[in-house]
Amino acid sequence: MSSKEEFNQISPSEFFYRNRDLAGFSNPTRSLYTAVREFVENSLDACDHSGILPNIHMTIKAVDPEKPDPKQYILTVKDNGPGIPSKHVPLAFGTVLYGSKFGLKQARGMFGLGATMAILYGQITTNKSVKVKSNADGKTRFDFEMLLDIQKNKPVILKKQETPSSEKGLSVSICLDGDYSKAGTKIRDYVYQTSLITPYATISFDDPKGEKFNHKAIIRSMPPAPTIIAPHPYGIDVETIRRMLVDTHYQIPNVDDKMIEKVRKELGMSKKKFTYDEIMKKTEKKWKSLTRPVRVVISLMSFLEADFEKLQRIRIEDVDLRNNKLVYWDYSTSQTLVAEMDVESHFYKQLANTVQGESLTHFLSKRFQRVGPTAALEFCKFAKFKPETRVGNMTDHELVKLSDALQTYEGFRSPDPTCLAPLGDGPLEKGIERRFEPDFMAVVQRTASAYSGFPFVIEMGIAYGGKIETRGTTVYRFANRIPLLYDEGSDVVLKVVKDTDWNRYKVKNDSAPLIIVSHICSTRVPYKTVGKENVADRPEIEKELRLALQFLSRKLSGYMSKKGQAEMAKKRANLYSKYLPLVAQFCTELSGNKKEPNYKEMMKEETALTNSDGSLEEVKKNG
C-alpha cells in the first residue's frame, strides 16, 4: 500500500509503458489474451463478492475480418454482476489506479489495474474509445463512451446515455490490436479452464470465426465469499514484521499538506492563520477527541513551538528518545536543526508511545489473526521476550529472533481461512466430473496453512480414465480461480507432480489417462512474474501440494489395485469360459464317452464375477 504514493508520482501512461511487458501487454497475441483475462476476472470477482451466480458472455469480433492478423478486434465482456454506480464509472474505467481491491482477502485480480491497462492498451493501439454499459440499481442503464486523458489521468466522456432497464450488470467493450489466430487456442483454453474451476458460473464465448463456446453452470450454489483479515504469524518473515511495524498507526506521520489540513480540521482551525499559543490552547480543549496521528503531529509542534506555517517548512528526521532530542530539516534555511524534548510533558509520552510502539503482546494479539492475549503471553514465554517489550525499540537482532520464534512456536492455531475462497470439495468434484467424465476421481481440500503470514489453501483433484482423452499426466493449474496457462515449466505444482513416482501408485506415467487439477487459494499467490502465470516454489506451499498429491495418489492407487483385481478376475473368467468347454470336449472324445461331463456348476463358479456391490455377474461366454 505504501507503493501507492510511489505510483502516483509518475504519470499513468509512463507507468503503463514501463510495465506493459510485466502486465502482459507485450505483443498483440499476448495482449488480446490478457485483456480477455482482465475483463472476465473482474466480472467474476464482482459477482463473487456480491454473491451472484455469474453469467458471463464474451465476444471477440474482428473490425475487418478480411485483414490478416494482427488486426483490430472488438472485445466485449458482459456480466450479470452488481454493476458500477454511474458516478463511479468514469473514474473506474477512465483512470489508472482506481480500484477497490486493497485489502487482505482473496480475489482474482490484486488492485483492479488490469482492466484499465487493457483499456489503455486498446486506446493506444487503435485510438478508439471504450464503451461501458452499467446498471447498478436494476432501474437504469448508463451507457458511456470514454477516452482516457493520458497526461491528466482523467476520463474524457464522449457520450453518456440513460436507458431504463431492469437487467443489472456491466458490459465493457474495447477495440484493440490483437492476433486471434495465435491467441485463440489460449483464449479458448482459458475460457474452458475457467469454467472448470468456476463450476457455478455460466461462461459463453463467441469467437471471431463464428464459433460459439458455451459452458453452462454445473452447480447452483456459490462457495462462501471471502472476508478481509490480518496475517497469520506462522510463516511470516523479518521483512514483513518490519513493514508491519512501520506500516501502523504508531508511525510518525508524514507531515505534508494533507496531514496539516487534517490537524486543522480536527482542531476546528481550518480557515484562518493561528499562532502557536492559540493552537496549543485549542489542543488542550480538544485533546480527547483528536485522532492518534493528529495528537502525534501536535506533540511534535509543541516541541518545535511551531505553528502551521512553520510546520509546512520542515521535515522530521528523527525522534531520538534516548537523548530526548527531536531532529528536523528546515527547508527555508536548508539545514538540520535539533529541538529538546521535555520528558515530563504529556506530549513526550505521546511521542514516546508512538515511536516505541505497542507492547509485544499487544502487537501480536492485535495485528495477527489467531493470536489472543493469552496466546501472545505464552508465545513471549516461549520466545524469551518480555511481554511488555516495545516493538518500536526492538533491534534487528531481536526482530530476527522474533521472526524465528514465530516460525517455530507450535501453539498458534492454524490460519483463518475465512479470507480465502477455496472452491470446496463438492463443487470441485462436480466440475471435474462433468468436464472430464472420468472412471475414477478424488478431490481433497487441505486445511489452511500460511507462507510469510499469508494464508493459503490447496485444493486438488485427480481424475483417471473414462472419457479422458489425453495420455500421460495433464495438469490443470489454478490460482485464486484463475487458470494458469503460460510458463508452466517453472511452476511449483508441476515440480511436485514431476517428482512423484507414479509407478508406486500403479500408474503408468506416460500412457495413463490422468488429470490433476490443482488450485492454490491465497490472499497473495506468490507468482514468479507480474504476468501471473506460474507460482513460485515456497517451501510451505510445496509441502502442502505434496501432501495433497500424496493423499490423492494413494486413493488412486487403491482404485488401480481394485481395478487390477477386477481385471484379473475378468480375465480369469474369460479364460475359463473359453477353455473349460474345450477341455470337456477333448476329454470326452479322448475317453470315448458319448456325453460331455457335467461341468456346468464349475463353469458357473469360475466365470462368476463379484461386482463392487457384492452381487454376482456371469461373464458372457465368448464362443
Partner: protein
C-alpha cells in the same frame, strides 16, 4: 540258417510288440482322457503330472547308458488360471495324437501348429506347440513319432533291406531299398514299416550326404554287406529309431562315420546314448553302436589334410569333457587329442589320396579295427 531263424522269430515278436505299442499308446491316451473326464464330472480341476525337464532333473543313467529324467515332476493344473491355457493345449494334443494314431495319419510339427487352429486352441507360434509336443512325450514317455508327429528334416537309407509298409494305402506292400541309388527318405512310412528281410550284416551311418552318394557309387553296400544311412548331420529321432530297430530287430551292428571333429564325435555319441533334450524318452538309443571315425588320432595316422579348430570348437571340447559319457575310453581319449592338436579333418579330406581312398583303404581298415573294440 540258425541265425535266420532267430531273425524271423525276432521279427514276429517285434511286429506283435509294435501292435501292442500302438494299442498301448491309444489306451494310455484314453486313460488320460478318462481321468480328465472323471475330474470334471466330480467338479474337480483336472491336471497333468509332467516329468520336470529342467537341467537339474536330467541325470545320466549308467545302466541304460543314456540321459534320463529324474523323479521330479511338475503339475499342470487347470485350477491355475495361468496354466489353464497350456493344460488345454496339452489335452488337445493328446486328443489330436489319439486321432492320428487311430487313423495312422502322419503329421509334422508344423502341421500340429496349424491343426490346433481348427479347434480354437491357439498357439502363439510353432515354438509353443513344439513345447507342448515335448510335454506330451514326457507325460506318455513315448516319442512323438509314436503318435505320428514327425520332424521336417529327413535323412536317407540305401541297401539290401526289404520293408513292408503299414501306413494306410500301402499296407502289405513291400519294397527293397537297394533299387534307387539316391536312397530312400526316412519318413513316417519308413519308420512305421515292418523290417522284413536283409542280407546285410552291418549298418553304416554316415554324417554327410556327399559321402553317402560316394558310398552307394562305390557299392559299399555290396562290398561290405551293409545298409548305408545318411544321418544328415545330427541324426533325427526317426533315423535314430530306425537305427535302433535295425540293431534290435535285425540284429545288425551299427557303425558310425563322421567328420574328424568334436561335433562328429558327438553325433556318434547321440546315436549311441541319446541327447539331453530327449532325456524324457527311452528307446531312441543304440548303446552298442560304434564310432568308427574319423578320430582325432586318425588325422595323424592317415596324414589327413586339416583345418584349425575355431574357438567355439575348442569350447565345445571342454564342455563335453564335463559330460559323464566322455569320462573314459575312446571318447575321452579322442576328445583330449582334439584339444591337443587343435585341428580337425572332414570326411572329404581323404579325397586328397583319391576319391575312393576312403572306401578302399580307410573303411576296411577301420572296420577291421572296430571289431576289436
Amino acid at each position: 540258417m540258425a541265425k535266420k531263424q532267430t531273425k524271423k522269430e525276432t521279427k514276429k515278436q517285434t511286429k506283435k510288440e509294435k501292435l501292442d505299442k500302438s494299442k498301448n499308446l491309444i489306451s494310455l491316451l484314453k486313460k488320460h482322457g478318462a481321468r480328465v473326464y472323471e475330474d470334471l464330472e466330480n467338479g474337480e480341476f483336472p491336471k497333468f503330472s509332467i516329468p520336470n525337464r529342467s537341467i537339474s532333473n536330467i541325470i545320466y543313467d549308467k545302466k541304460l547308458r543314456q540321459y534320463v529324467l529324474g523323479t521330479n515332476t511338475s503339475l499342470r493344473s487347470s485350477r491355475n488360471s495361468s496354466q489353464l491355457r497350456s493344460f488345454t493345449q496339452l489335452l488337445w494334443l493328446a486328443f489330436f495324437a489319439n486321432k492320428l494314431t487311430h487313423e495312422k495319419k502322419s503329421s509334422t510339427l508344423r502341421d500340429v501348429y496349424y491343426s490346433s487352429q481348427a479347434f480354437a486352441v491357439d498357439f502363439e507360434d510353432q515354438g509353443e506347440s513344439d513345447n507342448i509336443i515335448v510335454d506330451l512325450e514326457a507325460v506318455l514317455s513315448q516319442p512323438r513319432e509314436d503318435f505320428y508327429v514327425f520332424p521336417e528334416e529327413r535323412s536317407s537309407i540305401f541297401g539290401d533291406l526289404t520293408i513292408e509298409y503299414t501306413i494306410p494305402g500301402y499296407e502289405g506292400k513291400t519294397q527293397n531299398l537297394s533299387s534307387h541309388p539316391d536312397g530312400y527318405a526316412i519318413g513316417p512310412s519308413m519308420t512305421s514299416a515292418e523290417l522284413v528281410d536283409t542280407s546285410a550284416e552291418l549298418v553304416i551311418a554316415i554324417e554327410k550326404g556327399g559321402l553317402f552318394t560316394r558310398f552307394v557309387e562305390e557299392q559299399v553296400d555290396k562290398k561290405f554287406k551293409s545298409i548305408i544311412i545318411n544321418t544328415g548331420g545330427q541324426a533325427p529321432r526317426s533315423t535314430r529309431t530306425l537305427l535302433k530297430r535295425l540293431h534290435d530287430e535285425m540284429g545288425l551292428p551299427v557303425v558310425i562315420l563322421t567328420d574328424g571333429d568334436v561335433y562328429g564325435e558327438h553325433i556318434a555319441m547321440v546315436i549311441k546314448s541319446g541327447s539331453a533334450n530327449a532325456a524324457h524318452l527311452k528307446g531312441l538309443t543304440v548303446p552298442d553302436a560304434k564310432w568308427m571315425g574319423v578320430w582325432a588320432t586318425d588325422i595323424d595316422k592317415f596324414k589327413l589334410p586339416t583345418i584349425p579348430m575355431t574357438e567355439s570348437d575348442i569350447k565345445r571340447c571342454y564342455d563335453l569333457l564335463k559330460d559323464p559319457r566322455y569320462q573314459e575310453g575312446l571318447w575321452k581319449r579322442e576328445l583330449e587329442v582334439f584339444i591337443k592338436i587343435k585341428r580337425k579333418a572332414e570326411l572329404e579330406a581323404f579325397s586328397k589320396y583319391g576319391l575312393n581312398n576312403i572306401t578302399e583303404k580307410y573303411l576296411p581298415k577301420k572296420l577291421e579295427e572296430s571289431k576289436s573294440f
